[in-house]
């Protein structure tokens, strides 16, 4: 039994099966990311005015990652074109370049995650006064925590309730709290453990912005990993098919390329939405 149109396209639809399949799949992916984007919009519109963070993420790093992905989509399409022109050697080169790009992207992304996960908000109570400190963890031991105050922070409901909101409420914005102010940026802050009431890093729990940031980029990263694994397979053992069934192999490269382009396209939307706006 042979299933028709696995390699050659069907006349009236102009498609071979897998190409139709991947496009249908991508349509469902559009709905998946679309739903998450609408969640983003709803959360942002519903946020207390002035508390949605700006400039929390590292724009140069994000831009670099964007460029890496754009380059990878160029190498992906060139890989496919090379096979179409029967240049297997060139294909290997481009395919390898794509994989390297995927790896760089993931490494940069993990640095960005690390940066967020080591960024803390610490609420203390000294006497009967609350303080909110915010910065990257430098050192931590049994009785003290050392933070490097950060220029960019976001405002949690907890901090706002204690009077440390985005509009400095006069009495509550003295410079000695180290929570904000460019002048203070370089000085380290040491906090006694015994005074700490609550300490939480900038993980997804911390704020709806971080929740949607981690969910969207995490899901995107899973797609990158999945795509890279498939392409690595084609680069390695899967490449044998070029000898036995070159046309089908070329189709496979096209399919993985379509998926890869979609993943990159999602990033093209993610980047401005999460980093710039």
């Amino acid at each position: 039994m042979e299933i028709p149109y696995t390699v050659k396209e069907r006349k009236d639809t102009g498609l071979y099966n897998a190409k139709l399949g991947i496009w249908l799949f991508l349509a469902s992916e559009v709905m998946l990311f679309g739903a998450l984007f609408s969640a983003y919009i709803l959360l942002r519109v519903g946020a207390t005015p002035g508390t949605w963070p700006h400039g929390l993420l590292n724009v140069p790093l994000g831009t670099l990652n964007t460029i890496v992905l754009i380059v990878s989509s160029v190498t992906v399409v060139m890989a496919w074109a090379s096979l179409k022109m029967n240049q297997f050697g060139k294909w290997r080169m481009y395919q390898a370049a794509t994989l390297v790009c995927a790896l760089i992207f993931l490494v940069i992304k993990s640095f960005e995650y690390h940066d967020k996960l080591t960024h803390y908000e610490v609420v203390t109570k000294e006497g009967d006064k609350h303080h909110v400190y915010d910065g990257h963890l430098v050192q931590e031991d049994k009785d003290k925590v050392v933070l490097h105050p950060s220029a960019h922070r976001l405002y949690t409901a907890r901090a706002i309730a204690l009077g440390f909101g985005p509009e400095p409420a006069g009495a509550h914005a003295p410079a000695d709290h180290g929570a904000k102010g460019h002048a203070e940026k370089e000085a380290l802050v040491t906090i006694q453990r015994s005074t700490i009431e609550h300490m939480e890093n900038y993980g997804p729990k911390h704020h709806p912005y971080l929740a949607i940031y981690f969910t969207l980029t995490g899901l995107h990263a899973l797609h990158v990993i999945g795509g890279a694994l498939v392409m690595a397979f084609f680069f390695g053992p899967g490449a044998k098919m070029w000898k036995t069934d070159p046309e089908r192999f070329t189709n496979r490269i096209e399919i993985s390329g379509l998926f890869w382009h979609f993943v990159d396209l999602v990033w093209i939307f993610l980047f401005p939405v999460l980093y710039l706006l």
């Binding site: 039994m1 069907r10 099966n17 349509a27 469902s28 709905m31 998946l32 990311f33 739903a35 709803l42």
Partner: protein
């Protein structure tokens, strides 16, 4: 495909072969027919399971707080304190209710109507050798199976299975401390991925693998129904997956996608960041779940149109109106979802919009039903079992659909929302509607799959008992709902019946409470009424009357032009299609039906319009 030459009559000499073949043939099969049967049997079992859960809950509703006879002690043994003394606790009631809905919808009806019937019949009806992606097809079944296993295991977790209804509204679903909801979400993610694979496969198959001559307007209506259903699944399920992922993030990582600022749980401010939106969950959920209700009904309509034409020996009246209505429904079903949310206070403008679209979508639904009724006009009806179920479908679906209209008006719905009236509305559509159509489908295609008929006598017993008890169960729910009985009440409303002043806006009338007993007895009888079916199904597989030909019902569509049962690869020669799907009683033809692949007697005469 090494074993594709195996036939059904293995001999024992080929033992070696069989040993190896067993796994690829019966377990990890890639043959669409076998996968369809796997889906069919698994989902029928889940339907039974979900029904039993409700059977147990009905005891609690009829006789609140008393031990369940016979099954109570068994429950206590299996689930411990949740059923202490054989009495169903409130927690257990909640989790059975949530799982009843989930299992019926996601593990029962959809897999049976879409995946089982679709898998078995669609490739045959379009003249294809198999589905486009046979291995994805297999993966789809096993993901479904795994999802089912996860759901079943969740009953035995400490604290039991999910408890916040099949709709799993947050914040309740998020802050419930037991693990059931987490497992529910994991199970749903598996099920969603399974149906995505299925949907892609169906669409690709229908678009790519139609036999020569099988143009779009020659597709049997069943194929069209599955086509639109597949689109609904493809595009509506991902938002639920997104919502599921977000609820998982809320549960596992303490995010606040669906938790508002200042949430207070048992008197204490919750340790969450807040800033989320409970309405977001409802929007995403119903964005799936309204298209989902059409996923529940469209395949049933497809089955009905096949059986209808076959048994009145007439073409369908208005095939094209059917197809266009289907498209209208498919499109509109994406913009009516918030009619489930009138009570949330989302604003009058939004309510009015969704009220309007809801009323518009009932037009194509009515067209479809009307077309079926007009088709009956002047036919000479063969009353076999499948036809009885089909006719009952028309009436029962009619009741369910018409009672949906009042719900579509938001001023009426404010009164009826979350009452037993809603329960009655959708059960009339899904239970005596869709499930009857599915039974009809089983009786109709059984001879193709097995080469034997199911017993007609027991079929009739099954039909009449089911019809009577379905109505005993669901009709009183309308009056209960109008009397003001809320759904999901652990004591069946007894509490409310004891308030001071009876009457429309006061306490529940006694008749509403008393109906609970009638309904429960009806439900148990309905359960018993399925025994003839189960018995008939298995008995007929081996002992049923043998079919005399490959086309025992004298049908026109291609699945009847294959050997019985169809071998791997389906058709001996690729069929070519010359005519529309329902050429019954064509004037001047020798027989009262002309199969789609027949060039008629005179050579290549043009097929008359159907």
């Amino acid at each position: 495909m090494q074993y594709s030459h195996d036939t059904h009559n293995h001999t024992h000499e080929a033992h070696d072969h069989e040993e190896m073949g067993f796994w690829t043939k019966y377990v990890f099969s890639t043959d669409h027919k076998w996968i369809g049967i796997q889906y069919g049997i698994t989902s029928l079992l889940f339907l039974l399971f979900g029904f039993v859960l409700m059977g147990l809950m009905r005891w609690q509703l009829a006789y609140p707080g008393t031990p369940i006879p016979v099954f109570g002690p068994i429950l206590e043994k299996m689930l411990g304190s949740a059923a202490a003394g054989g009495v169903m606790s409130a927690d257990l009631y909640n989790s059975f209710g949530a799982m009843h809905g989930t299992i019926m919808v996601f593990l029962g009806i959809v897999p049976l109507a879409f995946a089982a019937f679709g898998n078995y019949v669609v490739p045959l009806q379009i003249g294809a050798p198999d589905m486009t992606f046979p291995r994805l097809n297999m993966a789809s079944y096993w993901l479904y199976f795994l999802g089912g296993v996860v759901m079943v295991i969740s009953f035995f977790l400490p604290g039991g299975a999910a408890q916040s209804g099949w709709t799993s509204y947050s914040p309740l679903a998020t802050i419930i401390p037991t693990q059931g909801q987490t497992w529910w979400l994991l199970g749903m993610v598996l099920l969603i991925n399974s149906s995505l694979l299925g949907a892609v496969n169906f669409l690709a198959t229908i678009i790519q693998l139609r036999a020569p001559g099988m143009t779009w307007m020659r597709l049997p209506f069943f194929v069209w129904a599955q086509f639109v259903t597949a689109f609904l699944l493809l595009l509506a399920f991902p938002p639920l997956e997104a919502a599921g992922v977000m609820q998982l993030m809320d549960k596992l990582f303490g995010c606040s996608f669906f938790l508002p600022t200042g949430l207070i749980i048992s008197g204490k401010v919750a340790d969450v960041s807040g800033g989320g939106s409970p309405l977001l969950w409802q929007h995403l959920f119903w964005f799936l779940a309204h298209p989902e209700v059409y996923v529940l009904i469209l395949p049933a309509m497809g089955i009905v149109s096949e059986i209808l034409c076959n048994n009145i020996r007439k073409p369908i009246w208005g095939y094209k109106s059917l197809v266009y209505s289907l498209f209208a429904i498919g499109f509109l079903s994406f913009i009516v979802w918030a009619h489930h949310m009138y009570m949330t206070g989302m604003g009058t403008a939004i309510s009015t919009f969704f009220q309007t679209t809801t009323l518009i979508i009932s037009i194509p639904s009515v067209i479809i039903l009307t077309v079926f009724f007009i088709t009956l006009w002047g036919g000479s009806i063969r009353f076999n079992t499948q036809m009885l179920f089909t006719l009952a479908f028309l009436v029962m679906f009619g009741i369910g659909g018409l009672t949906g209209l009042p719900l579509g008006f938001n001023f009426v719905d404010l009164f009826l929302h979350d009452s037993y009236y809603v329960i009655a509305h959708f059960h009339y559509i899904v239970a005596p509607g869709t499930i009857f159509a599915l039974f009809a489908g089983v009786y109709y295609w059984f001879p193709k799959a097995t080469g034997r008929y199911m017993c007609d006598f027991w079929g009739r017993v099954h039909f009449w008992c089911s019809l009577v008890f379905m109505n005993v169960v669901f009709f009183p729910m309308f009056t209960q709902g109008i009397a003001g009985m809320s759904r999901r009440m652990y004591d069946g409303g007894v509490n409310y019946s004891q308030a001071a002043n009876k009457g429309l806006l006061g306490a529940l009338p006694d008749s509403a409470i008393y109906s609970n007993v009638i309904i429960s007895i009806g439900a148990w009888m309905l359960l018993l009424a399925q025994i003839p079916f189960i018995f008939n199904f298995f008995w007929s597989m081996r002992n049923g009357r043998k079919v005399e030909s490959d086309n025992p019902w004298d049908a026109t569509t291609l699945e009847w032009q294959t050997p019985t049962p169809p071998p791997h690869g389906n058709f001996a020669v690729e069929p070519t299609v010359y005519r529309g799907p329902y050429e019954y009683s064509v004037p001047g033809a020798v027989r009262d039906f002309i199969p789609q692949n027949e060039i008629d007697n005179k050579g290549k005469a043009k097929a008359p319009k159907s």
